[in-house]
Structure formats: C-alpha cells, structure tokens
Symmetry: D2
Subunit: 337 residues, 4 copies
C-alpha cells in the first residue's frame, strides 16, 4: 500500500527500505534533503514539504512519523491542518503514552485517526525486522495491517511457542495491537523498562566475574576500609569476553543482549572507549512512575534506573551528606580516591 | 571416549544420552536401579555400585558426578578410596565454588584430578545442548575435551559474533575452561545470579502491564490508602500472554527466558497453578555474597534475590515492626487484607 | 491571635488545644458536632457551619484547615465564596504540593492568601509540639508567626546545634518557612519519605536480629531450598525488645522512631496484633516520583516504598511469572507454604 | 573496680576517663607512649608492656581491648600466655562476631573468659556515654557489671518507655547482655547496618530537597537525555541546612543523626570539604551477609551498602558494559560528563 514517511533518520529510513522491499510505495519527507534524495535513489517518492507529502498521497492517507519525541507535537499541529477526515497518522517514535491519549482525542475531533506504535529493533532492525506494539482504534489499525506485517520480523527462524494453541493473532509475527490509544507506547515503555533490568543483570554479572581477582590485589589496611576476609576465594582472572561468548549458546541467559555484549567485549575487552556514564532516555523512568502509581513492586527495574543515575554521579550531594555524617559522629575522614 | 556417570536424574540421564549419540561409551550408576536399567536399554553399561563403576572403567578413568549438592562430598569420600592417581572426577552439579577449591586440594594429594563444571540448560538441554563453564587444571580439562564438546550445544543456528576475530577457543561452541579449581562453578553461580535479574525484569514488566487497568478498579478511599491521581492513564486491559509472544521476535528483550514465559502464559494466562512463592536454591545468594565481598555494586541481582525472599513472606516480622511503628506515631490501624 | 480551625480530628483538636494554651482564641468547626462541643467546653468558640465560622472571625481572617486530603478542595471551593481579599487559609494537612500551586493561584485571583503547612508530630504532638514546614507568600506567613510559634515545639530540651552561628530564623524552634506555594508540603512529603527509609532500616535490623536463631531451626533439605552453610553462626535467641530499649540511649541510631519501637515491643514482643500489611498513604510514593523526575538516585527511600507494596502481596502476579519461568526451564515445582 | 585498658585511641582513652570519673582504677597500655603518659597525668596507672599491665592487675583480672580489628588476634595470642584461669578479656572494638566464637572457644580451653562488647557512641561518647551490646558467659559479664554501668549513658534525660512494665534488666541504662559469645558484636553489627539505612534515608531526602530546583536549570535537549515533563513543579530553592535544623524538634524523623547533619550543614551548607566517596568499614556488609544467610529480606540496608559502593565508583566496569550495550543495539554514543 501507499505510505507517507516523515522523518528519515536511521530508523525511519530503514522502515522505508523494509516497506519498499515488500512492494509498498513510500512518499518520504525530512528536513534533511540529503536523506530524502538518498531514499529517492532507492525508489521512494520524494516530498519537499509536509504539504507536498500530503498532496502526493491519496485519501484516505496513511502517514508514519519517525521523529524525535520533542518534534512530534509541532509536526502533528501542522498536519492537522493538512489532513482530511479518515486519514491516519502513526507515531512510531518513543512518545510518552499519556501524550498519545491527548493527541488522539484532539485529532479525532477532526475525524483523523491517530495510531501509536512502539518500535523496537534498534540499528539491527533493517535486517531482523522490528517488533511493533500498537495502540489505537480497531479500524485504522486493521487497515494498516500490511504495513505492520512488512516492518515486523515475521515468524523467522524462531520456533513456535509450544503451548500456544490459538491460531489467530499477529503476535507470532512480531506485531501486536495492544489496545486503545496509548496502549502501544505503554507496552513499549515497559519493554524498555524490562530492557534496563536485563541489561543491568548481565552487566552486574560480568562485573562480578571481572572482579573475581579481588583477592590478588592489595587492599588498604585502615579503619576506613573493610578487609576482604577470605582473599583465597577471589583469585580468578577470568576472560570476561569469553564468558559472554559462551553464554550465547545453550544457557538460560541466552538473549540478544548477551549476543551484543559478546560482540562489544570481543571488539574491546576493557571497553576503553566508554567512561561508564549511562544515559537514560525516558522510558525507564516512566516505567518506574507507572509501577509506583499502580502500587506494583518493581525493585529490579527501579534499581536499574537508579544505577544509571548513580553512574552519572547524580547522587553526589547525597553522598557528601553521608560523608559529613560519618565525619560528625565518628571523626571519620573521607578517603582520597 | 569412555565415561562413568554417577547420578541419573533428569540432567545426568540426558547427559548420557547426548554422549552416546556422539559415540561415547558410558558406564552409569544411580541408587535408583530403575534409572540405571532405563539407560542400559538405551545402550549404556550398567554399574551396580560405585565400586563396580570404577572397575568397569580403565585407567586413567573419567567420572562425571551429576548429584544434588548435599550428596557430592560423601560420594567423593567413597571415590577417593576407589580411584587411582591420574583418574579424573568432574562435578557437573551446582556445588559452591569454595567447596571445589577444598575438594580439588584434597584429591590432588592422592594424585586424583578434580574438575568443576557448571552446567546450564535445564530440562531442554537434551535437545539444545548444555552451556558448560569449567574449572580445574589444564591437562585433565584438555583430556575431557571430546566429552565437553558432545555435551555442549555447538555453533548451532546462532550467528557468529561479528566482532570476534580470534579463531581459537571453544566458547563459540558453548563450553569454556574459565580458570583453576572453582572457576567453572564461580561463573555458573554468577550466571544464575544474572538469570535471577533477567527473570525479575521480565516478570516485573509483565506485572506492570497486567496492572495497567488500575484506573478501572475502585480503590478504597481512606487515610491509609494512597489515591491514584490520574486513573484515566491506567485504563488498559492488555493481553499479557500476547505481549510475551510479540516480544519473542525482533525486540531488544528477545531471549530464551521470554520464549519460556510466552509458553507458560500461552498455557495459562492467569498462571493459576502457581501461588507466587518463588524458591531460591543457592547460586543467587552466593552471587550476592560475592558482590559484597568484592565491593562491587550489584543492585539488580541483589534486589532480585530479596524479591524472592519477599515472595515467600520471609519479611513478616520486619513488616509487623513497620506496622507497629505506624500505630505508635500516627495511631494508624493496619488495614485488613 | 484569632484563628478559625476547620476539621477537629485528633490533629485539628490538639492544634486548637496548643493554641488556646498560649492564649490564642479559636473558632472551631467540624461536621461532627460532638467534636465541636468538646472543644467549646475547653474554651473554643463553636461554629455551626463554614459560613458561621467565617462570620465569627474579623477581617483579615486566618483559617486553618486540618482535613483529609480528599476534602480540602471542596472545602476551599466553599470558602472561596465566603472569604474576602487579604484573608488567609492555611492547609495543614497532607496535600500534594502540586495541588498547592494550583490552589494558591486560584485563590490569589480573589485576593485570598493560601499557605501550605506540613505538620509532623502524630498523636504525640499535643505534648511535644508539631514540626511545621511552611510554604507561601512572605506576608501572610509572617502574619501567622504567633500561630506557628505556639504550635511548634520551641527550643525545648534539645541542645542547640553547635555549628549554627546564625541567630536569625525560626528553624531551631521547630517551624520553617521553606519557600513559595507548595514548598511546605514538598519538604513535608520528603520528610515522610525519609521516615519510610528510617523505619525500614530499624525494622529490617530488628528482623535480622530476630532471625539470628536460623541455625537452631531445621531447614528443608531439597533442591528448592538453599542450605544454611554455617548454622553454628546463627544460634542466638536475642530479646529484640531489649535491643530496641538499649539502642535508645547513647547509640548512633537513637531516635524518636527507636523510642516508639521500644515501646511497641515492650507491650508485645511478638507484635501479635499485626499481620504485617504496611499501608502507604501517598507521601512516600510522591517522594519517589520527585526523585525520578529530578534524576536523583534514592535507592533507600525507593526500596522502602517497594517493601511496603511487597508486604501487601501486590507483587503476586510478578511472583507467579517467576515461578512459572522456573517451572519451564528447570522443571522446578513451587514449594508449598 | 580495677580494669586494664589496652588501646588508648580516642575511644579507649575516653572509656578510661568515664571509668575513672566513677571511681574505677585503670591500668593503661598502648604502643604510643604519649597516650599512656597523657592518661597517667589524669590518674591512670601506666603500664609499659602487656606483661607489665598483667602484672599490675590482681587475679582474677579484667582487661578491656579497644583496638583496630586487625590487631585483636595477635594481642589475644600474647595475652593467652600471660593470663591465668578465671581472668576475663573484653573485646570492645568492632570485631566480626564469628571471630568471637572462635576466640572465646580457644581462651576457654585455658580457663580464660572472653567477652565481646559492641560499643556505640563515637566521638561524643565521653559526654553522652556509650551504648553497650555484650556477648559472653553469664558469670564474667555479671562480674563486670560496674564497669559496663559506668561506661553506659544511664537513664539520663530520656523519658522511660511507657509500655515497659518489667523492672529488671539493664537496657534502660544503655547496656545489655545480648547472649553467648558473639551476640554482642552481632547486635552491634546490625546496629551499624541500621545506621547505614537511616543515614541513607536522611541523605537522600536532603538530596531530593536540594534538587527541587531542577525546573530552574536547563537540561540538554537530545535523544540521550530524558526531558523534565513538568519543570514548573520543581522551582524551589530550599535552604537544606535550615530544613535539617527544623526536623530536629517535634518531627517523626528526629534523631541523633539529624542533629549531626544539621550541625554539619550549619558549618558548611554545600559540604565543600567532602567529595562524596563514602567509606564502609565492615559492619554494613556483614549485616547484609547475615540477612542473605538468614533468608530475611533487607532491601533498605542492602541498598544503603550498594549506594556506598556506587559513591566510590566501584561499579565502573558494570556501567561501561551498560554503555557498550546501548552503543551496540541503539547506536547510542555516551554523553560527555
């Protein structure tokens, strides 16, 4: 089918490529005219403006936005004036699901459909396909089924789930209509929260293995340093990169994230290119807020978020207060780094 | 090659089957004579006692123990009297790595080699192969290479790690000699700690999605119950089983654990067969002890362990103290369940 | 000075008593006419309605609301129609500070001042005084200074802070103007978050001491139960009530909360009256939301909140998913309680 | 009574002073002869060696060791040869309770009594008295009662616990015989764990208040930085030092630790003298190990320990792994500090 793509960054461009491979015709637009030209060469129809893009689609139109979260609202504001009733806009980026509810309501008053779609797959999605978590009304979601199907991974090599007896539903092909407006981004948000926790588990485990040599190193002997009681139990120098590699096959922790860690460590066992300041870009903290609101305990996801804050030194004032208290009651001086 | 297997529970029996498929000859022993007979039918040589098993192997002998942790030491004590210098015993179970160090030292005084081998793969290992993490001296580990190779998954369908340039090493085939005595069980212990964290991340995420309907349910209105400020943001009834299924393909959280959760939820979306009392069987807590000793922060693995304790109601006295304090300072009565 | 008190529950009534002791004249109102009569007997002026209460005060009026959070807004809506420019309303309850900002803005448009005041002290405040954390405009807060001073504890027995050299400010007397609208309830909210963390630390510590007898009890011996490796290190039967009592004097953890725990345990060492379902009433979760928004790591306060959720069994679905995963990969059955 | 004090650091010297004030006669020894002379001037009997100290006491002798944890064992080894049956040695330092069990057993074989005594009070103990948690046999503990009583704070200004009806026991005077060997240091260890949690709660709360100005500061706008959705809710510049001061009186969080924080912040509101690298000196981590062994959830104490590890940058490798994973799947570059 015909689709307009707004936003041709890495993900948007690759979505267009997957769609064209499957025979869909794409009209593409980006502020960066080079990105537009590049895809035009590959077979897409170039648009020179949002107005032009809308013109080059026939009603009822289908548009997909693949934009940084901060640019979605102004783009929707422009589109609202250009689109006609029964047109559909998909937001495929990482918007907060609460914004979806508001946006869908506003566009509905003009008869325009709004679909939120969480898109997972990162830089590898062109090849592997993207896992899609979709929210919105039944009808426009159904209408866009061929688009979702082309973007999603499909059954692929993965074995069918043995216990799954129902034969309807698209989830085995890697895309799912999760519920009304916001449900897609809600599930994607939590997906990213899960990702934080899984990443942290793997990273902590490798960290513990890395430091299995603690008994070989000397520790300061003073009242400010807890001694290692049994240094003989920590005398291993283990090749962390090889551990990640061996975990890729047959183990319970086998996962795409372990595959990626194995790759990163194979390239650079000490990860010298990194300082360890771990960003967070919204979904993790939103997941924690949701857990708190729902009164659901989520210790692992919450602490994975906190760990990222700690990695960026954001607890420094708190830590200074701790050191100051120790100084007050025990006369403990802080140890130099 | 020829191998003696002691312990024919699910894992031991399946190891024997994988070995025989690859042409190894196995002498098998278990207190449960039915288990011995069953494998005899499949081609193994039955032994009627440890003594008999040792007799039926030729020096230098290779034995593999696949026993509950509590039975390993008495079995080793018996074997020490039966074995000869240069024989090798592999402990393939879940022993604590600190015990390995002691055991290897004792057996070494009789010239017997001791190899510790962490074995991951669970009930699926017969088909998928087992990921092996091995500790001990170079020579006996090298000697047993054909055995490890047959038990391990091999390269299989998994793509090679793109960044891996070295061509030596067995890790891509799913087994790794990690270091001296105890190193295998150390890495397996941490592997299970990682497993705790990954499992918790997935389970919490699905819990948050399950409770995305919080705004549809009524909450008590009283001073003891925090109100849900924005119920309109929690009005989703999402099919958790389908979410697990869709995450299996193309997503960043794709993993064997997600495959298994999808299967469990496909069979029973409400998991009625479970009460939610989550056991822990040692490795998780040992991982936390190691992190504490090494002075390495491991918030996610630590809190995953704590979550399991909480699930079994082990914090009840602590919680009573909390309720008692609230009663004292605020006159708060506890709310009934 | 003259003050109208709306809401004569335990805290409101005791505030009136402290104010009258210091010579302030109070007009009091509550839906519960018995509560009004009781305070009338003690010297207050009774009001039969909000309208009557407003009539009995002279402009510029000062009112104090001591109401459940859910009743504040409707009461303010009524009062808005009854009050005159330059009148002041203090909300002394546990409102969310974000509501204060909205409410102050609305009332300001009618020239009415709104002051938010977090009030700590619980059932003991009549005797000890209440710690007050105040937000709002300078002028009305200054005007109400005599009221705040009477309610607050004053210098009392507590020694002056040695390092404090400034001689201005009211904080040593137990009340503080923290900033503009919402600042009082913001600081009170965080105060309660701190309270959660301190309570949890004390309760966990006493729980660990309570269970120092773990080595005297038999533990199941099976693959689902981690063994206690060194039972000889856990053979203490320690009187937890006496420990709380001894910590009251001279120790670093000495605190009002330890005083209260000692009292509760003196009355009932096993706390049989409690089941351990610990409520949370808003401030703790709001504190966690603020920490997440501010990007500040708050692991202890966050985990204290999560612990309360766990105590109420709110993680049950999550825990079921964990048990189901263990069943899938390891064939582990759940252990009965 | 007569007591020999070995170790005249800040705490040992102050113990001697409190004892002499109450009429006890002290023989004192330290490697630092200046410390010995100083106390001799104040009335103590100087000893020039352990041998001399033992000579200057009459059997049955009472000795108190106030030494760094690492020096206790060699000192005990020397004393074992010098002491006679029925002599008693008190270890008043921060030894690990498991060492007490071993040490008491060894000395018992020579008829020497060993008493472990956890001593809390820090640099303020001379004035306030020290909270004592005691382990060992009944008889020698009873014999030393006058010593414990003089060191402990006594009833002091603190009100009696209202619910306490029993009139026996020494806990209201600030010292307690907790149980057999090791019980004193066990309770002291947990006391310090509680201290970690309480300190963290207070420090985190003040950190959240400090950062209540987050909405006034500009945040980077890019895909790596989560935006602050409601900056208008974080526009407070609150005087953290004054908040600590106001919490000292009448509030639920009132405690000696809040007193100390108020003092530290009064001296230096930004705590410039500290970098925020928070040491831990053993008891906190031992408390976590005990909780893990006992299968008791202790999320707050555990996370307070982890927070200290984070403050010292000990999670850097873990954090690098996290950044590397983000780089692999999302092409995310790390942000510069």
């Amino acid at each position: 089918m015909r689709l307009g793509m707004v936003g041709l960054g890495r993900m948007g461009a690759n979505l267009v490529r997957r769609l064209m491979r499957d025979g869909h015709r794409c009209v593409v637009y980006d502020l960066d005219t080079e990105a537009v030209k590049e895809l035009e060469k590959e077979g897409a129809t170039a648009a020179s403006s949002l107005h032009d893009l809308v013109d080059k689609l026939e009603p009822p139109r289908n548009l997909w936005l693949m934009l940084p979260a901060g640019v979605v609202q102004p783009t929707l504001d422009q589109l609202a004036a250009l689109l006609a009733p029964d047109d559909t806009v998909v937001d495929g980026g990482n918007s907060y699901y609460r914004d979806d509810i508001t946006r869908a309501g506003r566009l509905a008053s003009s008869g325009i459909h709004y679909v939120d779609c969480g898109t997972s797959g990162g830089v590898w999605g062109l090849e592997r396909g993207y896992c899609l978590m979709i929210g919105g009304e039944e009808e426009p979601v159904a209408r866009l089924d061929p688009v979702f199907r082309s973007i999603a991974p499909g059954l692929g090599d993965a074995a069918p789930t043995p216990g799954r007896t129902r034969t309807d539903g698209t989830s085995p092909e890697g895309y799912l209509h999760c519920g009304p407006s916001g449900a897609g981004h809600f599930v994607k948000m939590v997906h990213n929260g899960v990702e934080y926790g899984m990443m942290a588990a793997i990273a902590e485990g490798l960290g513990i293995i890395k430091h299995a040599d603690a008994g070989l190193r000397s520790r300061a002997v003073d009242a400010e340093t807890a001694p290692l009681r049994e240094p003989e139990a920590y005398r291993y120098e283990i090749d962390v990169a090889e551990v990640a590699e061996v975990w890729r096959r047959g183990s319970v922790v086998g996962s795409w994230l372990v595959d990626l860690v194995a790759d990163a460590l194979a390239r650079s066992p000490e990860l010298e290119a990194y300082t360890g300041r771990v960003s967070d870009s919204g979904e993790g903290r939103w997941t924690v807020l949701a857990a708190v609101d729902e009164s659901v305990p989520a210790p692992v996801i919450s602490n994975a978020l906190i760990q990222r804050y700690e990695s960026r030194g954001l607890g420094q004032f708190t830590d200074k207060v701790l050191s100051a208290m120790r100084g007050e009651f025990g006369g403990h001086a802080e140890k130099a780094g």
